[in-house]
């Protein structure tokens, strides 16, 4: 190896262009310094996205803060399609007596709910004459136009005015008490549904009900404003079998306010009840609103009427 050498390697010269490019590296690198900002751009973008999401969430929250979501007041089955309307009075909340209705379940017919205390007729009425008309027990109530009922004859008109319905419906309550404050349920003459506040076994509130609205008729501080409860006594088999109860609400002008909405079915003692709350915050018409309850198989189980004052 002594007479050998590697002069070719030692004589290698870098092209002048390479050297110039290498000398210009500082200038090129200085010009490229803003790339440092690009390095952090992902963090900036992430932070911006977080801020945007938070802002949108807050905006959405404050926008819908006053509007109660439908699910919050829907019954146990949340497939509610009901519309909500306005009624600050919201004191047309009443129910039928379970004891009187419990005998009418066998034929899946109408659940009759006559006035429980006889004082209903004293309450102010919009159309007292219509509401006090006696109805024939066993008649099937006329419910909303799209009600899936087997008992409804096809010749019936799908849309009836509430007054017409009341005359045919044995479950229609003849009177309403629009001036009774909802915050004092104990002032009601006689709540006909189970009275959980005085009992040891209060009915369970609907899962979606808000704190101000206990959901069970007759509960203390029962109805928060803007909510009107419609309830009927139903066969206890609806609770045991899990069959759903649906309801359709017709406004005074005959239009469907809430159609084919799931009602909340609950059990109290040996009786069962179906209940539905109507948000009356956006209603525009005062008058008698009729709620028709019918079973999953289409049988009518009861009708309830409430006077809602806008």
């Amino acid at each position: 190896m002594n007479d050998k050498n590697f002069d070719s390697f030692k004589n290698l010269k870098a092209p002048q262009e390479w050297i110039e490019n290498a000398i210009n590296i500082p200038e090129t690198t200085n010009k490229a310094k803003p790339i440092i900002f690009v390095k952090f751009s992902r963090y900036i973008a992430t932070a911006a996205c977080l801020v945007l999401v938070c802002a949108l969430s807050l905006t959405f929250y404050f926008t819908h803060k006053n509007a109660t979501p439908p699910a919050a007041h829907a019954p146990q089955n949340t497939d509610s399609t009901s519309d909500f309307s306005n009624n600050e009075d919201a004191n047309a909340d009443y129910t039928q007596s379970p004891s009187q209705n419990s005998n009418n379940h066998d034929n899946h017919g109408v659940v009759i709910s006559p006035p429980s205390d006889g004082t209903n007729g004293d309450a102010p009425l919009e159309n007292p004459s219509e509401n006090t008309k006696p109805t024939k027990p066993g008649d099937k109530p006329i419910i909303g136009p799209t009600r899936p009922s087997e008992n409804i004859e096809p010749t019936e008109k799908p849309t009836h005015t509430p007054t017409e319905d009341k005359t045919q419906s044995p479950t229609t309550k003849p009177t309403q008490r629009p001036t009774v404050k909802p915050t004092t349920p104990t002032q009601k003459p006689k709540p006909t549904v189970p009275q959980p506040p005085t009992d040891n076994d209060p009915p369970a509130a609907p899962p979606g009900s808000n704190p101000g609205n206990p959901g069970a008729p007759g509960a203390p501080g029962a109805s928060a404003p803007f909510y009107t409860k419609f309830s009927v006594s139903v066969d206890i088999s609806y609770v045991t079998s899990g069959e759903k109860i649906y309801c359709t609400i017709i406004d005074p002008n005959g239009y469907t306010v809430s159609e084919y909405t799931s009602a909340y079915v609950y059990k109290s003692g040996n009786s069962a009840y179906a209940m539905h709350e109507l948000y009356s915050g956006t209603l525009s018409t005062s008058g008698n609103y009729t709620c028709y309850f019918f079973s999953e198989k289409g049988y009518t189980v009861g009708t309830d009427t409430a006077y809602i004052k806008i």
């Binding site: 590697f6 070719s8 390697f9 870098a14 290498a22 500082p26 690198t29």
Partner: protein, 162 residues
């Protein structure tokens, strides 16, 4: 940054003084002018961006060689995943076959022997310095040197090179 000194030299002086060393390392490792240019530039970019604390010029030269070798290894690693279109191009470095200048024989050695022999015979580094540069044990360097010499002799003295 432009005023940063590397062992008392400005960046421009470093490029002028050590470009031959870096080019030799890159050519020795890559055997290709085009690839060598990339590693050449990357080596000086590293020097400029990292601004290492270098005590003297020996350290600076060793630093440049080590970085150049690492850049070449990275380049080879990346190029191993792709098929090069320049594999048979005229950019390949070919040294003339000479009985005295055996650079051509060195280029035919395996990489692990070529690095050590280059540092030992071309750059005139000692075993311990080579061990520091390639980050291996001195005994390993000695072994590689011995085996590399035998292989190199077999190349320039054998039938293959005649």
């Amino acid at each position: 940054m432009a005023d940063t000194l590397y062992a008392g030299l400005s960046f421009e002086q470093v490029v002028h003084n050590y470009n031959q060393t870096v080019v030799s390392v890159c050519i020795m490792r890559l055997k290709n002018w085009a690839d060598a240019e990339d590693c050449f530039q990357n080596t000086f970019v590293r020097l400029y961006q990292n601004s290492p604390e270098i005590a003297d010029e020996d350290h600076l030269k060793a630093w440049l060689i080590r970085v150049a070798i690492n850049e070449c290894n990275s380049h080879l690693r990346k190029s191993s995943r792709t098929v090069s279109l320049n594999e048979h191009s005229d950019q390949a470095v070919e040294f003339p076959h000479d009985q005295t200048d055996i650079s051509w024989a060195l280029m035919q050695l395996e990489d692990k022997y070529r690095d050590i022999l280059y540092l030992y015979y071309v750059e005139q580094y000692k075993v311990n310095e080579i061990a520091d540069i390639v980050q291996k044990k001195p005994n390993t360097i000695k072994t590689l040197l011995m085996r590399g010499r035998e292989k190199l002799k077999s190349i320039y003295g054998g039938d293959c090179c005649e």
